[in-house]
Amino acid sequence: MSDNPTVGSADPGAEVVTAEQALAKSSRQSDIEALVASKGGDWDALLDDIEYADSEQIILNMGPQHPSTHGVLRLILDIDGETVTKARAVIGYLHTGIEKSTEYRTFTQAVQFLTRADYLSPTFNEACYCLAVEKLLGIEVPQRATIMRVLLMEITRISSHLVAIATGGMETGALTGMTMGFREREEALHVMELITGLRMNQGFVRPGGVAQDMPPGWEERLDYFIKVMNQRLPEYDELLTGQPIWKARLQGIGYLPVQGCLQLGITGPPLRSSGLAWDLRKTMPYCGYEEYDFDVPTTTNSDSYDRYLLRVAEMHESLKIIKQCRERLKEPGPVMVEDKKIGWPARLSVGADGTGNSLEHIRHIMGESMEALIHHFKLVTEGFAVPAGQAYAAVEGPRGELGAHVVSNGGTKPWRVHLRDPGFVNLQAVSAMCEGGMVSDVVVAIASLDPVLGGVDR
């Protein structure tokens, strides 16, 4: 690393090299014969240049604005003809400093930032952060709030897997898969909107419970969702599972066996496609998942096709859990801890002006009790203090282990929040999955990892 050759160190007998070529040689230390920089202009002239070059090797920048890289992901591919000899992922194009921003907000407000990290799995981001904060607080959330969290997480898992299949289909030319995936995702988002008020980035899961109880009419809406999904999920099998083109594009592509997964820290469907039934919901249960009846599907081919099969199978399993949540939610109960120092005082309902408020609570703090007003003001603006220390909580997100490391210094704001995003870790496998394959298979391999760049870059 220390003795990079420089332009001046070339021996005097050698032919003159341009600075550009020397830079390419010195920094890459590879055997590239010529560097053809694509600066626009005439394609014929450019192709002539390539023809004169002795090597077939081309460095190709794929992204960050490429439609099939799943987001603002940049790939630097060394290609020899159609074969990828080296693949490197460059990230950071969507870095928004979410972790830093949370340090200047209260523990409750931080949820609104973190939900926007991996924007396809907002409930998971909220839940793992809240579980970590609750560990630090040493509190137990009410049973009904936990069931609601499970319900929302499983609906989110379905909508996230649908996008994974839809965008993966779009990137490989299976456009009907795309239209179908987004059609069903709408159904999932409608249910989320009814329960939380927002389609995405809800900020509904809060430290201590959830923001509100289930709205009126949720049973019928959820029954309709279950009915529609039961009808339409088999359509994915009919359209894609047995389809020869889909199989030819996906089978054997993006191969990563279990040893590679563990070394690279890969979790989620890629790990389960290599035969290891590691699902935190089963292996290290949280939110009472041990009480639900569901299976963890696994396959053994470790390729993109198996990861597709697993996503479809996991949606069926999620539907099973949703049905069980529906039964358990029949029993009423509180959805926020009783501790008035932590739980927000109002049980909000949507008022006549469309904003959330509670007339009873407003009467209490504005007309009856000065202390209640002070308490309300302090809890909302200052927040609640969390004992100094650190905690790590992990949930099984749609893409793998989603963890939150939360540090408190005893104040009302998180001292440090780190999201262990599965997309960030899983993207490290791009090199292992793509090198030696074809350029067109790079797209398939990345789609099978299903990174969401909002979570990758945070």
């Binding site: 990230i91 950071g92 870095h95 400093g97 972790e99 830093k100 921003s101 340090e103 200047y104 907000r105 560990k135 630090l136 040493g138 563990l262 070394q263 690279l264 820290g265 890969i266 979790t267 290891l276 590691w278 292996t283 290290m284 200052e382 927040g383 203090a385 100094a388 220390g389 650190q390 905690a391 790590y392 992990a394 282990e401 963890g403 490391h405 540090v407 210094n409 005893g410 104040g411 009302t412 704001k413 001292w415 440090r416 780190h418 262990r420 960030f424 870790v425 993207l427 490290q428 870059d457 945070r458």
Partner: protein, 250 residues
């Protein structure tokens, strides 16, 4: 503010007891640094006369408490297995600075000199088998705290379904920690992010470059002395300062 009571010296309070942190009656070894500084007053009021009444308030630094035996749960088994494995491989007991059990989690504070050897033991020993490095991240405990930069390793044993946390702390002017990439290749991007955000240099990393910020960025954004930025918000004739300049309630 002039007559603040002296708080106890953290270093003497946590003097080395002689027994190893893993095998002794308490998980106490070499002193670990506090996670908060000694604080005076309230609401960050410094430049004007004290009108809050909190001016003479002194808050002692918080230091993670060493755990006492039995640690409870699987933590005792992990500690015993680790002590045995360390003895077998000739790693001195002083490599473990402290064991803390808090929030139902086990944190092992280790010295950076033995970090890689310890990770190797934790991964390979039959009774430990922490196959997966779940997460590696940094934390900056603030400018007034000794050894303020911490690196946190969240290890996961899939065989025994256990989690344990390793923590290393270093000074800003000597922010070098050996790289874990040779043991856990997944540490590659985690360490690049920690370097990018906190400026911790991981010695032996195959290509320690920035990963989230642009290559030519100056500074490490998640350090506590790096400003958040932002502009004051005007609201009906009043001005609300950026989030990092508002008063704090600690």
């Amino acid at each position: 503010m002039t007559e603040t009571p002296q708080t106890t010296d953290v270093a003497t309070d946590l003097a080395h007891t002689g027994a190893g942190a893993l095998t002794g009656p308490t998980g106490k070894g070499a002193p670990v640094p506090p996670i908060t500084p000694e604080r005076h007053g309230m609401f960050h009021a410094r430049d004007t006369g004290d009108t809050s009444g909190y001016g003479r308030l002194a808050i002692a630094p918080v230091t993670p408490a060493p755990a006492t035996r039995p640690f409870g749960g699987y933590f005792d088994e992990v500690a015993d297995a680790l002590a045995a494995a360390m003895a077998e491989r000739g790693i001195p007991e002083s490599a473990i600075e402290q064991v803390t059990i808090a929030a139902t989690e086990m944190t092992i504070y280790v010295s950076r000199a033995h970090l890689v050897a310890l990770l190797q033991v934790l991964r390979d020993d039959e009774a430990l088998r922490f196959e997966l490095l779940s997460s590696l991240s940094g934390a900056d405990y603030g400018v007034d705290v000794p050894r303020r930069l911490h690196v946190v390793y969240e290890l996961l044993s899939m065989t025994y379904r256990r989690r344990v946390r390793l923590e290393v702390s270093v000074n800003v002017d000597d922010a070098t920690v050996p790289s874990a990439v040779s043991i856990y290749p997944t540490a590659d991007w985690h360490e690049r992010e920690t370097y990018d955000m906190f400026g911790v240099v991981f010695a032996g990393h195959p290509g320690l470059t920035r990963i989230l910020m642009p290559d030519d960025w100056v500074g490490h954004p998640q350090r506590k002395d790096y400003p958040l930025g932002g502009i004051p918000v005007e609201y009906k004739g009043h001005e609300i300062p950026p989030a990092d300049q508002r008063r704090a309630y600690t």
